[in-house]
């Protein structure tokens, strides 16, 4: 090249031109490589995009199901809580057995009570069966009277057979106690 009769200045210009051509070809190859890369990755991108969308949809739909199931669970819990609260409130609103027993025992006097059985307790009345032994007929009648006076509306059924004896009378009473 140096000895081709071409002046040095022209040789430099020609070399510059050649380098320019090399740069253009290199850039073209780079661009072509990039294009081939993009083209070859495009199907994979589409596949990944579709898969991603599918997974997202699955996640969203499963999230919705979960919410629904959570809501249903919460509703169920609330319902059971409501029932519990109702039950508890009913318990709190009804009369307590210990109170009734206490009232009866406070009125027993010399009477010994063997058993107390509660039956058909409603919001307004409670039917209580008492059995025991009274030392005298008077004490039994007195006990009956005291029970009737515990609350307004109390009713006491004392069978007449229970008054047949004078002493150590075994009795059975039916008390319809007003809870108002």
């Amino acid at each position: 090249m140096r000895h081709s009769f071409l002046p040095i200045q022209e040789q430099k210009i020609f070399k510059k031109e050649y380098l320019y051509h090399i740069a253009v070809v290199a850039l073209f190859l780079l661009a072509a490589t990039g294009l081939v890369g993009v083209c070859s990755l495009f199907p994979a991108y589409i596949y990944v995009y579709i898969e991603g969308s599918s997974i997202n949809d699955t996640i969203v739909s499963s999230g919705k199901d979960k919410n629904i199931s959570e809501i249903l669970g919460i509703e169920k819990e609330l319902r059971s809580d409501m029932l519990l609260i109702n039950s508890l409130s009913e318990s709190f609103s009804s009369i307590r057995y210990s109170d009734l027993i206490e009232q009866i025992t406070s009125a027993r006097g010399p009477i010994s009570i063997d058993s107390i059985r509660f039956e058909s307790i409603s919001t307004s009345t409670a039917t209580i069966f008492l059995s025991g032994t009274a030392p005298t007929r008077e004490s039994l009648i007195s006990f009956k009277t005291r029970l009737e006076t515990l609350n307004k509306g109390n009713k006491v059924d004392l069978p007449i057979s229970g008054l047949a004896k004078n002493k150590d009378i075994s009795f059975s009473l039916k008390v319809i106690k007003s809870l108002q």
Partner: protein
Amino acid sequence: MQSSLFFKLFPPPAFLVMQHAGLDISDDGIRCIEYRRNYHGLTISKFASQEFPVGLVENGEIKDEKEFSTILSDFIAKNNLLYVKVSIPEEKAYLFQTDVQSLDFKSIAQNIEFKLDQNVPLSAPDALFQFDLMPQTVVGNLLRASVSVVPRTYIEHYVALIRATGAFPVAFEVVPKSIVLSYVSHNSNSTQLVVHIMKKKTGFYIVSEGVVCFTSTISWGSDEIPLTKISDFSINTIMNEINKVYSYWTTRSDVHSDISEVIVVGSRAKECESLIRNQNSEIIPRSALPDVWHNAFNINKYIPAITKAQSLEYAIAAGLAL
């Protein structure tokens, strides 16, 4: 021109190859050839010629620069030439031979540069030169170099003219070397006398082992050959010059081989070769027309659009385009 299997299988892009055309600018006109490489080798992609008006260029000197530029611009534009390797007329180049130490290329070039002043009427800064080494060593470590020297101003003038046309000169080459490039095998070890016939002049070049060793030009051209009755025409002028050159070469003590044949190229080369052959000279061993495509492609595998007779006029462009 052989190309490696690698480049056959993976040819570089045309944009990077920057394929050049051979542009032969002579006194007679302009000729160009551009090759294109494919899997089978080179093929001719462009060829064209344009004759100059008489007197526009004489002995390599441009007489009317404006007209020359116009013709050159039109020719380059018409044939869409971008990179060109341009011929330098033999009259504008000095040729000498010198012995140099067998060193690296740079050292040999420097060695020759020091000897320029002794051999040509140009100082080193005013000259551009190139050289070819003879394959056979002269004595010991010495090599024989054939050096062509051209005035720098002449080349710079041509560069400016060609650049003004929009083309890009990639190299310059003297006419004898351009002809040698076209047809001489790379491993040739014979010596030939090339007779390059132009319209107004004829060049005689001795080529030994593929290297131009001697040049001379006479003012006799193909215009002097009649168009009819060629067989009756005498070419004494050419024969006398051939004899002189032949005698000069045989008297040189440093030659390795005698001239084995006379090769005729250029304008009306076929007729001239036939005339030379008909002279039955005792000195001239034989005359022949070269295959100017020898180093480009195999004529048996690819037939170019240029005829054999025309190809002899394209010898310079064919060599430059390689």
